[in-house]
């Protein structure tokens, strides 16, 4: 089955990004497809490459980046939500006149249409948030 996933809260502050990660791993292990994970609201903050958690804690962004690479998951960060919160890729940084970007490998910034498309194209949609 194709399962779409939405992450609506930021890393560490809420458990949502962790639960989603554990859920996606289990779905893949059970033979399901997770073609895309959509990051919305504070969920976009998962995508910063500047996070430096204590060494004895999990590294949420690294975990997602690795999982996406291994299973070809499309990690999409909502552009409107990301702009408000200061998550930018190279293109956006240039377009907005900012001196740097901060998005991590494996994430891409795109529009809310990708969320609707995921709802249309998957068999189930599961949301994790606050």
């Amino acid at each position: 089955m194709k399962i779409g996933v939405v992450v609506s809260e930021g890393p560490y502050t809420h458990e949502a990004a962790d639960t989603a990660y554990n859920f996606v791993r289990a779905a893949l292990a059970a033979g399901h497809e997770v073609p895309r994970v959509f990051f919305y609201h504070d969920g976009v903050n998962v995508a910063t490459r500047l996070s430096v958690p204590p060494q004895d804690e999990r590294h949420i962004q690294n975990n997602w980046t690795a999982l996406a690479k291994e299973h070809s998951i499309d990690l999409v960060v909502c552009i409107a939500a990301a702009q408000r919160r200061g998550i930018l890729d190279k293109n956006e940084a240039e377009r907005q006149g900012k001196d740097t970007d901060n998005i991590a490998e494996g994430f891409r910034i795109s529009g809310l249409g990708q969320l609707i498309e995921m709802g249309i194209q998957t068999d189930r949609l599961v949301m994790f948030g606050d």
Partner: protein, 102 residues
């Protein structure tokens, strides 16, 4: 045609579980995750509200979240079943839709 509802907030703080139980149809399932697992506890001030829907609605708690919080399965209400992340996935696929009570 049935729905899997997920609830992730403590019912002692937030009324999401109550609202969810008020909008379930018989045959639906409710999975309590994250801080929502406290809704599956026996012997609480809210146990009666939850137990009243057990049976008509299937009730689950996400065991990894319960264990994280020190809640053994002996603390769960009758009629509340623990599941792992694999069971969570099965619940998603065996119901027609998932509704998150965020």
């Amino acid at each position: 045609m049935s729905t899997l509802h997920t609830v992730n907030k403590s019912p002692f703080t937030n009324r999401s579980l109550e609202s969810c139980l008020n909008h379930c149809k018989d045959g639906d399932a409710v999975l309590m995750i994250e801080d929502g697992v406290y809704g599956g506890l026996a012997g609480t001030a809210l146990a009666e509200m939850v137990a009243a829907r057990a049976g008509a609605v299937k009730l689950y708690v996400l065991a990894p979240d319960a264990h994280a919080r020190g809640l053994g399965e002996d603390r769960l209400l009758d009629g509340v079943s623990p599941v792992g992340y694999d069971g969570f996935v099965d619940l998603v696929t065996t119901h027609d839709r998932t509704q998150a009570w965020l």
